[in-house]
Amino acid sequence: MNIEEIKRIYKDEWILGEVNLSDELNRPVDVEVIMHSKNRDEVYDALEKIRDKKHLCTFYTGKIPEKGYAVAFYGKG
């Protein structure tokens, strides 16, 4: 499935996928969705359990950041 199709079907979700094809800039273009969730931690938990795949990807399908949010990166205190 191509990335635009994934974004359309799984709107505003985190995706864990197996990359079937990348372009010349190493960007995934064809991805098989393994797991999708609104909760990033569920996707990361699934990622950690993957054993038999060689090329994986994770990404969020919504706007980065959400409308109305500004971005400042900081660590958890």
Binding site: S22, N26, L56, Y74
Partner: protein
């Protein structure tokens, strides 16, 4: 020589962050989304991506102080076998292992430990980024 070639991509200058696709090679290849940040030292990747790459951050030999808005904390500092962005690859790239807040909507941060291997040009007037 490939590393002298230049890659140019457009970005939306109105977006609050520039997000790039980053392919990290370890035990597997993991494509993650990272926010471009030229203001800090090391690439930042989350714990669970580190684990799937075959790293063991919980027993990392090297830990460094990470200064944040909320204080200073010790975080694992580890070597990534290779990191590729826009077709450009750097080897043995140092990364800190730390989870960003979920609402950052990116997996990590792309920092100087990768960027200093290349020349990076950001043209906000015309909305493009070049890496050579």
């Amino acid at each position: 020589m490939q590393w002298l070639s230049m890659v140019k991509v457009n970005f939306d200058v109105n977006q609050p962050v520039i997000v790039l696709d980053v392919a990290i090679k370890g035990k597997v290849i993991e494509n993650a989304k990272m926010a471009l940040d030229t203001g800090a030292t090391y690439i930042m990747i989350p714990w669970k991506i580190a684990k799937v790459l075959g790293l063991e951050p919980e027993v990392a030999k090297e830990r460094i102080d990470m200064t944040t808005a909320s204080g200073v904390e010790k975080v694992p500092l580890m070597n990534l076998e290779s990191v590729s962005v826009l077709g450009k690859t750097a080897h043995n790239v140092k990364a800190i292992i730390h989870d960003l807040p979920q609402r950052s909507y990116v997996d990590g941060l792309l920092e100087l430990s990768f960027l200093r291997n290349f020349n990076l040009h950001l043209n906000f007037g015309e909305g493009y980024l070049e890496l050579e």
